[in-house]
Symmetry: C2
Subunit: 289 residues, 2 copies
């Protein structure tokens, strides 16, 4: 799908393993990806790829890089946990023209509006932003149980409950995940992220504030209004480990719109811990199908 492209592919890499898998998938499809590591976010060893580090707010350096490297396509990949402070942002001329709306968005936008702005700023530098799933379609979750364990009836009820909540909070542009235990919503993901939320569920369980007899489910879904070129929900072995520590029965993500990292390792961890991992279909109206 990326064959015949005239220019080079860049991967702007945030935290976590996703950007690395995307880079490897790009390499396997014949690309020579150029990695733009985000300072304080990209936390892997990137020496295997040509790479450079820039500050999150340094759009000026980004513009120069894109043209110097002949980059025509950019993938945004990985987490960005910290927003740039205003003083860190080094504007270029294109940015200055849009300054008031940029300031407003950075200061007060939800994650989704900030992402939209970042995409527009990159495209104003002359490159096209494409989705990581276009480079690495093999990382997307498929429908149904991914490992050896399938969700049971109680789990399906928890999945439906948590999915409804995940869509509602996605619409508010807060987070992508929620946890339902025995049909009761117990946690909604905010800025703390999925692992932070699972740690909270684990300690609420230890304190006896969540049933010790009902397991429960983590659901992660795309925000309904989300641009799928950035920030698709992602799970991997550590998500399964944290779900196990929280005493959950399993994890459900949106088929075709969530990344599964280290699939083999993750499913071995899940099978060993007795957890299911499954892909679900979510209709446009948020109905489970």
């Amino acid at each position: 799908m990326t064959q015949g492209a005239a220019g080079r592919l860049a991967i702007i890499a945030g935290s976590g393993f996703l950007p690395y898998y995307v880079a490897e998938a790009a390499q396997q499809s014949g690309e020579t990806p150029f990695i733009i590591r985000l300072k304080n976010e990209a936390d892997l060893d990137w020496t295997k790829f040509e790479n450079v580090s820039i500050s999150v707010g340094d759009v000026s350096a980004l513009g120069k890089l894109l043209s110097a490297q002949g980059i025509d396509r950019v993938v945004l990949s990985g987490g960005v946990s910290r927003r740039p402070e205003w003083r860190e942002i080094r504007p270029n001329f294109k940015m200055i023209a849009k300054m008031p709306s940029i300031i407003r968005t950075l200061l007060s936008g939800g994650d989704d509006t900030v992402l939209q702005m970042v995409i527009r700023l990159i495209e104003a530098q002359g490159a096209r932003v494409i989705g990581a799933h276009e480079i690495a379609p093999g990382l997307l979750a498929t429908t149904g149980a991914l490992g050896n364990i399938a969700p049971g009836d109680d789990d399906h009820r928890d999945i439906a409950k948590a999915a409804k909540a995940a869509l509602a909070l996605g619409a508010l542009d807060v987070g992508q995940g929620s946890v339902s235990v025995g049909g009761r919503l117990v946690a909604l993901e905010g800025v703390e992220g999925t692992d932070g939320m699972l740690a909270r569920v684990a300690s609420l369980r230890a304190e006896g504030r969540i049933s010790s007899r009902r397991k429960g489910v983590l659901v992660k879904l795309c925000k309904p209004q989300q641009d799928i070129r950035a920030d698709l929900p992602t799970i991997g072995p550590s998500t399964v480990e944290n779900a196990a520590k929280a005493g959950l029965a399993g994890i459900a993500v949106e088929a075709g719109r969530a990344f599964v990292l280290d699939r083999e390792v993750m499913l071995r961890v899940a099978d060993d811990a007795g957890l299911f991992v499954c892909g679900i279909d979510v209709g446009l109206a948020g109905e489970m199908m």
Copy 2:
């Protein structure tokens, strides 16, 4: 408003200070309240009032108490952080007739459905459940700034944003509170409660995952579908202290549908810390007025 009642008033007391203030208000209006302390929840010294302790699930003992004490009105007040495990519930005959729906509700209902069931069970014993605000109307928040500090323009924007989120999660029957910082929703309250959520905001702030330059606001609202006879949002001095630790600019609650405990102490703490506390009007459609 409680004058001329034929029977005695009981207060089923959960955790926190609210039940104590309700008991004092009842006493001041000429009642002799009988306190039913919930085991593992009621955490104050209740020796000043006639009182007895029962398990959360012990509806049978509750029925006997109500008739032995000639109780015709019951106030539910304070927090219940732990649901009864099934084995702790000692049913009486009235309960057994409704057993399947009770089991279903206790195991899987949201907080609101569980409260509705508790209210129905108590009323099946022959007493009427009334709201704490009917006994202690002086504890309700009023409209506008309660202390010396009023919210500014940025704060009003955060209030509107967090209020919208609080209503949405209330509709999901998850929690009553949310935090918006610089127009960005950062935390939604789940089973951990308001103080747990504020502690999370404080640590996200310390980790640099929330702007250090924008303060933000906590909003607590009634769930839209909530029975106002139980579980009205409550704030007090410790809420203000925790909001200050989380670096917030202030707190907004729903006027007429939220309790303010220890008002004088709380407002002194708020004024000293530079925080506003205000009551807001929320329209039926969730519009700020």
